[in-house]
Symmetry: C2
Subunit: 378 residues, 2 copies
């Protein structure tokens, strides 16, 4: 194998596939990046066996030559060293050549590296995906869906299925749900789908976080291909594979209360900042729990008390308080996460008593819902 | 105690004195910041007993009122909580009031915090410094002197004296020296001094790093006051105390070779980048050691070889190579640190053989010198 390539494009592709490479793998060859050069261009592959990423650099783009392939072939190079080397090379182009015994020369200007490579034949094959079940979704919408739900997945492995986000497709609508059993985040969006039957998969939260980092924030259409145990996201010159989580995702529909005893409408940012301040003294000892009480005159009181440090109390003027008087305690972190995800200027909170989950929605957007379980303190 | 203060000025002063506060102290009151309000203004103090910092906020500045002191007094408040609270308060002014039992109310807009304070009488007194031995130096020059030497102090406590920078004043000249016994950094500068006898002190590297972070990069004159076991740096509204290191600093003058067998002049940045690249593969296993060989035609070869990973070789065109042929090995990190400190475009290196220390200087500036011991590999 021998090729000459624009260094900045190589760096970009290496950064993309690096997102799938971990040094904590037990399979030595997965600490490497596979490079495959042929007449079409250069393909880079990185994988940690849960996630696999393939980035393609075409020979030519917009009539500019990007790669000049002098000899086809493939090699696996240590991801960390290869990544650091190409970032620090002196010139704008790099020549990469594989010799006997997988010895690989990386040349740029007067700098010449010789890296010990590994046999590309030993690199695991990517899953073969039959492109039957395809959903199309713009990249920026997909990134929003991930951002607004993935934070609510469980970080504990006691119920592995909850470490993923459930994606459900039905009647050209995609619903994303994440819950760690103390809170739940849900977002719906219309999509273009060729699926005839309702389909649902659970994708590991970690995979979605990495996918979100790689995708650009534009409206390029991403194709999502679902199989029994893999999902593939296809963007231009990029393939992102993730395994699916196996098991039954709990039925969350019955968790969402249909009735409401106290309704509050409040300015989201002001409410968020008040909770943030109240939580400052609550982070230690009290597990970040703050209290909320409704007061006469449409006022919400947010407070916390940690005897060994001090206490804090703040009044926030609500736009509306309707229904029963309420005193409730909750995790400041969970409510702040939910408010950040909602993005709205004004939010509506529906409480059904101090011991029941409450629901936060944006008043202008009903495609999104955040549900939080209170903490017993009163 | 009761006062109302501009919040941004309070944040700035808290950030300054915070540099001296550590949570790892065994003296509980030192986890706090002392606030003292009187008719002159507000004084904040932080200390870890090695370093003490005092920041003063005057009642009025440029005819703008900054602090309105309604009642004099003093209190000690937990540095971390107090710092976080004032950063997140909603309004531009803060009211702070101390009640019985050191209970302190912090009020801004509708947010009200109550912090448990500590008795300011229990806070250690700052050292009393007799202002006899005063040196005057512009802040930006002092920061340069620190930056160009402090990186070479020892990080090991086996010889505590080497964890400090030696400052020597003689004939209106200040010399700063740091060495960890594998390398040495020296910088001289003319200063204004009232000292009649040659004076030298050793200031902990950590103190100088913190001082450097607080000082602005301008030519404000800093007064440095030396006593037997303390040094005080005085800037406008700021006092910075550090203890001195006790013990005899080694005589470093005899370390610096007076002769030279091989002289090299090379472009600093190009040389630095070549060493950086050569060190990429040398970080593991070989302790970051790279090799340098002089070649015919005024060429320097920089290389490293780590059999299990690979090897790298790069030629750098020198502007001049004079004297004996040379092969030498050294720590890439030490040479890179030295080159970064020198700041020059062209540097001169004087070698006295593969086993002897070599000296790097900027060709345009002889106030600075970097000495490095080679590593035995040839």
């Amino acid at each position: 194998m021998k090729f000459i390539i624009q260094r900045d494009r190589l760096i970009q592709s290496v950064n993309e596939v690096m997102k799938a490479v971990t040094s904590r793998t037990t399979i030595p060859i997965l600490t490497g990046i596979k490079l495959t050069a042929d007449s079409e261009g250069l393909t880079l592959t990185g994988s940690d066996s849960d996630i696999s990423i393939q980035s393609f650099i075409p020979v030519e783009e917009d009539e500019h030559e990007i790669v000049e392939v002098k000899e086809s072939g493939a090699i696996v190079l240590n991801a960390r060293f290869f990544g650091e080397i190409i970032k620090k090379l002196p010139m704008e182009t790099v020549e990469i050549e594989v010799h006997n015994n997988f010895q690989t020369t990386i040349r740029s200007g007067k700098a010449e590296f010789n890296l010990n490579g590994l046999d590309a034949e030993e690199y695991p094959h990517l899953p073969l995906i039959e492109e039957e079940n395809i959903i199309k979704i713009p990249a920026d919408l997909l990134k929003s869906l991930i951002r607004q739900t993935v934070f609510a997945v469980s970080t504990s492995e006691t119920r592995p299925i909850l470490t993923g986000v459930k994606l459900e497709v039905q009647n050209e609508e995609l619903t994303c749900i994440a819950t760690d059993s103390h809170r739940l985040a849900m977002r719906k969006a219309p999509i273009e789908s060729k699926l005839t039957d309702p389909t649902s998969v659970v994708i590991p939260g970690k995979s979605l976080n990495e996918l979100s980092k790689i995708l650009d924030d534009n409206n390029e259409i991403i194709e999502m291909v679902i199989t029994e145990n893999q999902v593939l996201f296809k963007a231009k010159n990029l393939l992102f594979f993730s395994r699916l989580l196996e098991g039954n995702y709990p039925d969350t529909s019955r968790l969402i209360p249909s009735e409401s005893k106290t309704d509050v409408i409040v300015h989201a940012k002001e409410f968020l900042k008040a909770i943030d301040r109240a939580s400052l003294l609550a982070r230690e000892g009290r597990n970040n729990v703050v209290k909320l009480s409704t007061l006469p005159g449409g006022v919400i009181e947010v407070s916390s008390n940690t005897p060994e440090i001090g206490k804090v109390v703040e009044e926030v003027q609500a736009e509306l308080i309707e229904g029963d008087e309420l005193k409730i305690s909750f995790s400041a972190k969970f409510v702040m996460d939910a408010l950040k995800a909602l993005e709205g200027t004004d939010i509506k909170i529906n409480f059904t008593g101090a011991m029941r989950p409450f629901v936060i929605r944006s008043i202008h957007d009903d495609t999104m819902l955040q549900l939080i379980l209170p903490v017993r303190t009163y």
